[in-house]
Symmetry: C2
Subunit: 159 residues, 2 copies
């Protein structure tokens, strides 16, 4: 995708998580990495809402599910999920969001609704290109651009 998407409130999470899981399984097989039960469980928790989820939120949910775990467990799983592109880190919120798309290695831009907490994704190569070019003029070699846009989503604008 080159345009944008923002989750609708009436979204069918059930189906959406199922799709995410299939995506994850295929991706990990192809990459030759292990999607363990724990990692999958944590991915499901993060993917079951389209809002930014903190590491300790994940822990809480796990506790309710009877899977008690230490923080480091969640952080390790998150590191893994981020490394394979199944989760994005949201620096400005110290939180995480599941990635429902395949971006390859293209950087992503996040839209964060201040009102409902929902998070959407954009994939704008033009933005990435413009950043690389401008940075390059200053002799700066770009590694990874973090682009997080706060604002108000369509649904909350209307309300």
């Amino acid at each position: 995708m080159t345009s944008g998407s923002f989750p609708k409130p009436e979204h069918d999470h059930q189906r959406c998580v199922a799709r995410l899981v299939r995506h994850a399984e295929q991706l990990c097989i192809k990459a030759g990495v292990r999607l363990t039960v724990q990692r999958l469980a944590i991915l499901k928790i993060i993917g079951s809402s389209h809002k930014a989820t903190g590491a300790y939120d994940v822990l809480e949910v796990m506790a309710k599910q009877g899977q008690r775990a230490a923080p480091v467990t969640v952080y390790r799983a998150l590191d893994f999920l981020i490394s394979v592109g199944l989760v994005h880190r949201i620096s400005s919120l110290n939180a995480f969001i599941a990635c429902h798309h395949s971006h390859g290695s293209n950087p992503v831009q996040l839209l964060i609704c201040k009102a409902c907490g929902g998070v959407g994704e954009l994939e704008l190569p033009a933005v990435t290109r413009a950043l690389k070019e401008a940075a390059g003029k200053a002799g700066f070699s770009v590694d990874e651009p973090v682009v997080e846009v706060t604002g108000v989503c369509a649904h909350c604008c209307a309300a």
Copy 2:
């Protein structure tokens, strides 16, 4: 400025901080807000390096200067300095950098060197515009874009 800048290692901090202080004084007078000694002291500390500075780094420096303070003091000053545009928050590092420029209310893009820790600024209206436009197509009304680019600066590239 519309192009970019990245601090040179051989930079003259002394002069640079003096300029920052003048800038801050004028800006606060114009805005009708109080640049107290404490706020100024903290601005100087942050502005005396062109690397990302953590809140607790500031505290350490203050302690060495004999000005003991509680974390909340620093965070309050930082909130103020950010609100008037004298400091930028670097979300991806949980750190801060003094702003030596006048951006008006234009969003800024930060360049963060992984090697030396130096931080530079860009002001690229085109990037901001592209983000607003793409977000707008998804019905998203942009408030504040956070753009932080990690990479390697010219000086460190050469080395």
